[in-house]
Amino acid sequence: MAVIPVEHGLMLATVLFSIGLLGLLVRRNILYMLMSVEIMLNAAGLAFIVAGARWSQPDGQIMFMIILTMAAAEVAVALALVLRFYRQFQTLDTDAANTMRG
């Protein structure tokens, strides 16, 4: 089985993280922003897996399991928030919710 070099894995994780961050910054639709956050979480998980494989340690996979669990919990809460958000503002645009500006 060909071993994937650790540099490639980390590069992929970096690209994914950047795409997620960029999406978070440019998107105004709250659903897309949530998806971007998921992509960033997955990038982080991938980085753990790669690192775990590199040093042949199970810790990386354990961390990935924790991230998955946390992402599930996060989505559960976030979707409930999105529903409340839509009821409140009749839109999914986050900039509509800037009423607490200083």
């Binding site: 910054l25 440019v26 922003m33 919710a97 607490m100 200083g102």
Partner: protein, 626 residues
């Protein structure tokens, strides 16, 4: 009879109780009861004082003083102040004057103030004053004395500004308070110096320590500072400016506070602290010089006043100048004797003047009086007796014996010749202004209508004091007239004796003749100027010299230019408060930063995200590269 001795505390406590009653329940008490409480408490104090005086003579207490410790007032480490009373012969004289004359003035006030709407307030203040003054003279500790000292200052302020609806009176009250406060600060520093050096403020212990220490710069400085306090309270040059303005208060107040008692607190202080001054001969000489300068300046100012009360006020300043002169010359008992006679005849003069002022519907200008001799015979005769005593008419008046004792002892003291000459010149001026006043008020043509007669409550004190102004002189006769020294042998239980006894009788007679000649010359000149043609002198006030004298030798003008104006100008210039500007700038700077940072709180989620990401990047870069 120890029980009577233990009643010492009631002498100041009775007027204090009167004050508390009037202050708390005054508005629920009928006027008649108010005057009963006020006059009653002070009269009881006077009776008690007389009992103590009687016991003092018949059964002299141990150590020539009644003592009573009341409670421990302050006790911190080695510093302890007891609220203790001590009644020796010096205090005895003061207490008798304060209570007896105080009681007479209270009685007089019941009629004088009868129509005033703040009747209760007046008597409450007056009772408080008597209580504070008694604390001052009975205190056995300098700090306790200072309590009374400030108490009388407060009452003086309250009573000068009694008719506070007129802002002029309020200004006079504030002026009196501030000017005496300058002296009080000196006195406080002096007390602190004494405590720092001797470790106690208990007067007897302190004076004992002073006598064992002898001459030192501490004592010289302390004497100077105490003198500062005495000058402020007693209206001596250069702090005399408040006393003439203090006449804004009701006339009984002028009689009690600004003639008989409070203004002589400075004399009492110096007499009480006499060892300090004896061991600081330079300062003691300064006391005499201040007294001489004051008696001359104030006497000259009294010559040009139109207001009858201001004449009396300047006269008071001048007579206290005599007392200071005596203190400075080491004639302690003569100073106290003059205090004693002056309290009587000056209270008499003020009260008689008050009777005239009431009769003429609050007219105080002497040039609008005149010819009152026939219309107000009682007031005329009592006023004349008081005036003769003030002018020191020989043989029959109290003022003669006390003033002559001062002049004689000043002459026989060291470097006393010049001071004596000033004193004799002062005697001439005293006679001159006293009889100017008499001729203007009682002789000539009548210019104002009399609205109101003099009732019994006002007449009785006048008659009693008129009798006193004649009789008390015989308590102390000079060597040539039998050498009867009731007063000085009494007071010399406390104060050091005099030195002039060895002087020859011929010298004494000669000095007496000179001062008598000065007095008669004064009366004669007054008769020639004001006795015959009173109206001629009314425009005298337009001449520059008279204007200068009428304004009190320009002291007010000088202080206005030198102190008050620069101070107010500074205050106005700094109205925006330069120091505060620094703090305002600090506040507005922080505010500006806070507002600009608040703008980043835009409510836009994506901006927050960008900020977090940026922060994370910076953080990582710092961790990796720094």
């Amino acid at each position: 009879m120890n029980f009577v001795n233990s009643l010492l505390w009631t002498i100041p406590a009775l007027p204090l109780a009167g004050f508390i009653t009037l202050a708390l329940f005054g508005d629920r008490i009928a006027r008649r009861s108010v005057s009963r409480i006020a006059v009653g408490t002070v009269s009881l104090s006077a009776l008690l004082a007389l009992v103590f005086a009687f016991r003092f003579v018949t059964a002299p207490p141990e150590g020539q003083a009644f003592q009573q410790a009341l409670w421990s007032w302050i006790h911190v480490g080695s510093f302890s102040v007891d609220a203790a009373l001590r009644l020796d012969s010096l205090s005895m004289v003061m207490v008798l004057v304060v209570t007896v004359i105080g009681a007479l003035i209270h009685l007089y006030s019941t009629e004088y103030m009868a129509d005033d709407e703040s009747y209760t307030r007046f008597f409450a203040y007056l009772n408080l004053f008597v209580a504070a003054m008694l604390t001052l003279v009975l205190a056995d500790n300098l700090l306790f004395l200072f309590l009374g000292w400030e108490g009388v200052g407060l009452c003086s302020f309250l009573l000068i500004g009694f008719w506070y609806e007129d802002p002029k009176n309020g200004r006079a009250a504030a002026k009196a308070f501030l000017v005496t406060r300058i002296g009080d600060v000196f006195m406080l520093i002096g007390m602190l110096l004494l405590f720092w050096h001797f470790g106690t403020l208990h007067i007897q212990t302190l004076l004992g320590a002073v006598n064992t220490e002898g001459h030192s710069w501490h004592l010289t400085l302390a004497a100077l500072l105490l003198l500062g306090g005495a000058i402020g309270k007693s209206g001596q040059v250069p702090l005399q400016v408040w006393l003439p303005d203090a006449m804004a208060g009701p006339t009984p107040v002028s009689a009690l506070i600004h003639a008989a008692t409070m203004v002589t607190a400075g004399v009492y202080l110096i007499a009480r602290m006499n060892p300090i001054f004896i061991h600081a001969p330079g300062i003691q000489h300064l006391v005499a010089v201040i007294g001489a300068v004051t008696l001359l300046i104030a006497g000259l100012c009294a010559l040009a006043q139109r207001d009858i009360k201001r004449v009396l006020a300047y006269s008071t300043v001048s007579q206290i100048g005599y007392m200071f002169l005596a203190l400075g010359a080491g004639a302690w008992s003569a100073a106290m004797f003059h205090f004693f006679t002056h309290a009587i005849f000056k209270a008499l003069l003020f009260m008689a003047a008050g009777a005239i002022i009431v009769a003429l519907h609050h007219e105080q200008d002497m040039f609008k009086m005149g010819g009152l001799r026939r219309r107000m015979p009682l007031v005329f005769w009592t006023y004349l007796i008081g005036s003769l005593s003030l002018a020191a008419l020989p043989l029959v008046t109290a003022g003669f014996y006390s003033k002559d004792k001062i002049l004689f002892e000043v002459f026989t003291s060291e470097h006393g010749k010049l001071l004596w000459a000033v004193g004799v010149a002062g005697a001439f001026i005293t006679a001159l202004y006293t009889f100017r006043m008499n001729f203007l008020v009682f002789f000539g043509t009548q210019k104002s209508e009399i609205h109101k007669g003099t009732g019994l409550a006002m007449a009785l004190p006048l008659m009693l004091l008129a009798a006193g102004a004649t009789v008390v002189g015989f308590f102390e006769l000079p060597a040539v007239f039998g050498h009867f020294t009731l007063f000085s042998s009494f007071i010399e239980h406390t104060l050091p004796g005099t030195h002039g006894d060895h002087a020859s009788h011929s010298l004494e007679l000669m000095l007496m003749a000179v001062s008598t000649a000065a007095v008669f010359a004064g009366i004669a000149v007054a008769y020639f100027i004001w006795g015959s043609a009173a109206k001629k002198s009314s425009d005298v006030t337009k001449r520059p010299l008279s204007r200068l004298l009428a304004s009190g030798m320009g002291f007010d003008w000088l202080y206005e230019r030198a102190i008050v104006s620069p101070y107010s100008a500074g205050a106005r210039a700094n109205a925006a408060d330069a120091v505060n500007a620094l703090y305002t700038a600090l506040v507005s700077g922080i505010e500006a930063i806070a507002f600009s940072l608040a703008r980043t709180q835009s409510g836009r989620l994506r901006w927050y995200m960008a900020a977090i990401a940026f922060g994370a990047v910076v953080g990582i870069l710092l961790v990796v590269y720094a």
